[in-house]
């Protein structure tokens, strides 16, 4: 049993140590005064008062918050001077207080992925990796293995901005892990770029790969690459966002694969000269290497079919057609 005093005391809000919060489990904290959750809590406190005291521990001259961060924030925003607290004895060590805080937290919260990451890291400062995996992973809803330990524990290194979106589920966890491979400034630049347009998740992965590859190959800074005049121009133009996303991807792909895209462009140019009828398409071999050329013909009646077949027949004697397929 944790020696938690039954006595409720009043503590001045500005005496609570906000710099260091070793026992707070929730993350990332929404410290915005106007956030919905804090606004609602503030209104409730205004109307009914603080229904349950927050929990603190006094150590030397510092008062550490153990549980009740949102209540403390809401009270501060309301301009209150002090707050009702219950105190944990100063004799209880950090590990004891943290486990107590974690226990309360898990009893009424399902932790998000960032919280899980921070919990794992904090627990690892007290216990062996093996013990954290075996004892605590089931409580956190994580499969108890080392791979997961490694994966999830890294995520707490993410910058607040990215962590916040990850906790909300608005970015893909794999993508967040991929971003961890970069320096903080590269990661933020990439992340903001990916958020600037409605890219799909698979496009986001592709773009990260392109940008990293181009930057390493050409030895250019991520920022310089992402501020390329062409990209800036696209981003500031008044066109449909999806179209912008498509153009941005096309630009970066071309920069990453200049030779392959040149082959594609050349093929398209030559194909255009042949003036194919509508709904007759010629596809090149995959990557201009594997397999065969492929015709796709759609027709709606026998006359249409006949016309298209005649067109194909004419190709046999067309130099332009032979030039199109010969260099492959």
């Amino acid at each position: 049993m944790i020696p938690l005093s039954n006595k409720v005391i009043l503590v001045k809000l500005d005496e609570i140590n906000f710099e260091s919060q070793p026992f707070i489990v929730s993350s990332p904290h929404d410290t915005n005064k106007n956030s919905d959750s804090l606004k609602h809590l503030g209104e409730s406190i205004k109307k009914y008062g603080l229904l349950s005291p927050v929990i603190i521990q006094k150590k030397g001259n510092s008062i550490f918050l153990v549980h009740g961060l949102n209540r403390v924030l809401a009270c501060r925003f309301l301009g209150m001077a002090d707050i009702a607290c219950q105190e944990i004895s100063a004799h209880v060590d950090q590990q004891g207080v943290y486990l107590f805080s974690l226990c309360i937290f898990l009893s009424h919260h399902k932790p998000n992925i960032i919280e899980k990451s921070k919990i794992i890291n904090r627990l690892s400062s007290f216990f062996s990796e093996e013990r954290v995996i075996q004892e605590y992973f089931p409580l956190l809803g994580l499969p108890p293995n080392k791979k997961v330990f490694f994966r999830v524990s890294q995520l707490s290194c993410l910058e607040k901005e990215i962590a916040y979106d990850l906790a909300k589920g608005s970015i893909n966890e794999e993508l967040a892990l991929k971003l961890l491979k970069f320096s903080s400034s590269e990661r933020l630049a990439l992340y903001r770029f990916l958020q600037s347009l409605p890219f799909t998740v698979s496009q986001q992965f592709e773009l990260v790969e392109y940008i990293n590859d181009i930057a390493r190959r050409d030895e250019v800074d991520f920022h310089d690459l992402l501020n390329h005049p062409f990209l800036v121009n696209i981003l500031t133009r008044d066109i449909d966002e999806k179209k912008k996303a498509h153009m941005v991807k096309g630009f970066l792909r071309k920069k990453r694969y200049p030779k392959l895209t040149a082959l594609e462009d050349d093929f398209l140019k030559k194909k255009k000269k042949l003036s194919f009828p509508e709904k007759v398409t010629l596809h090149p071999p995959d990557n201009f290497e594997h397999g065969n050329f492929r015709f796709e013909i759609k027709f709606f009646d026998s006359l249409d079919f006949e016309k298209k077949i005649q067109f194909l027949n004419k190709l046999l004697t067309s130099d332009k057609f032979h030039s199109l397929i010969s260099h492959q």
Partner: protein, 357 residues
Amino acid sequence: MKFQPQKIIISPEVKNAPMVKTILHNCPTASIKYTTIDHEPACLHQKNVLLLTQNKGNFYKPCPGTISYLCCLYKILNIGVNCPLSCSYCILQAYLEHSIPTVHVNIEKMIEELDGRFDQYPSRVFRIGTGEFTDSLAFDHLTEFSKMLIPYFALKDNAFLELKTKTDIIDNLGNLDHRQKTVVSWSLNASRIVREEEHNAPSVDRRLLAAKKCQDWGYKLAFHFDPIIFFPGWEIEYQDVIDELFSMVNPSRVVWISLGCFRYIPKLKPIIQEKFSESRIIYEEFIRGLDGKMRYLEVIREQMYSQLISRIRKHAPNVFLYFCMESPKIWQKCLGFCPANNGELQSLLNEQCLKGS
């Protein structure tokens, strides 16, 4: 620098193997531990440790090759895994769970397996190499494997051994009765690639000096330009290596030269990025091949092969050239012929072995 391990881990089941005694004799300063590698997880990725263990599987196995491209049906003798060199492009990094240099010391089993094979199929020609999962000679100063293996193959009518290396560790090969049944081969690359990507490996000069010595000792030689890597200035640099090669060795002693452009399984890319952050080789243009490996565009491969072949042909018009894991189209375009299938390529290489022996 010849590899001298700081620590040797010996699996208890092989502690009495004769080869262990030889290795310990040749490593007087190494610390020794008799245990299994499972009990030494910290050593799993250390290159200064040597693991002596038994090969629990087969020593003799077919080369994994690749699907959808022509392969030479090479046979592998699995004498060990990993090596003391650290080539950034090494595929083993993605295939194996650990990078600890490992020697399989239960060679009695290996001999039993080989005898069984050779006796069972007396009319077949066996072309066997030890350089697939390790470097054939990187440990030879410690294991003295060559002193056993080369005379063994010398007595076999239907088998040839290829020792494939990037090293110049050939001292043990000097006075052996090889009867031209062993081909000593070197993997060669442009100087810049050797310098920047083949860490701990001897320079091309040293490799070729070693090749010249082996030539003088009467061995057949072979060379492998694999992986051929695209970088600014590759044309001149590969040309220089080819010129240097033929300034050192007699083309008539070269039984084959293989060519293969850099290719990798996608899993290797993040490994190279993490372990060799200075390396730029993965940032060229690659497409996913039919076997799932990333390859240069066909036009690039064709350009590189054609250039290298033309230079080789200038010095050695009759040397047998082949591609490792290439498409029939590339064969046809760059070499002017294409084996009908893997079996035909195998036969062509076997013929090269049989010439003059």
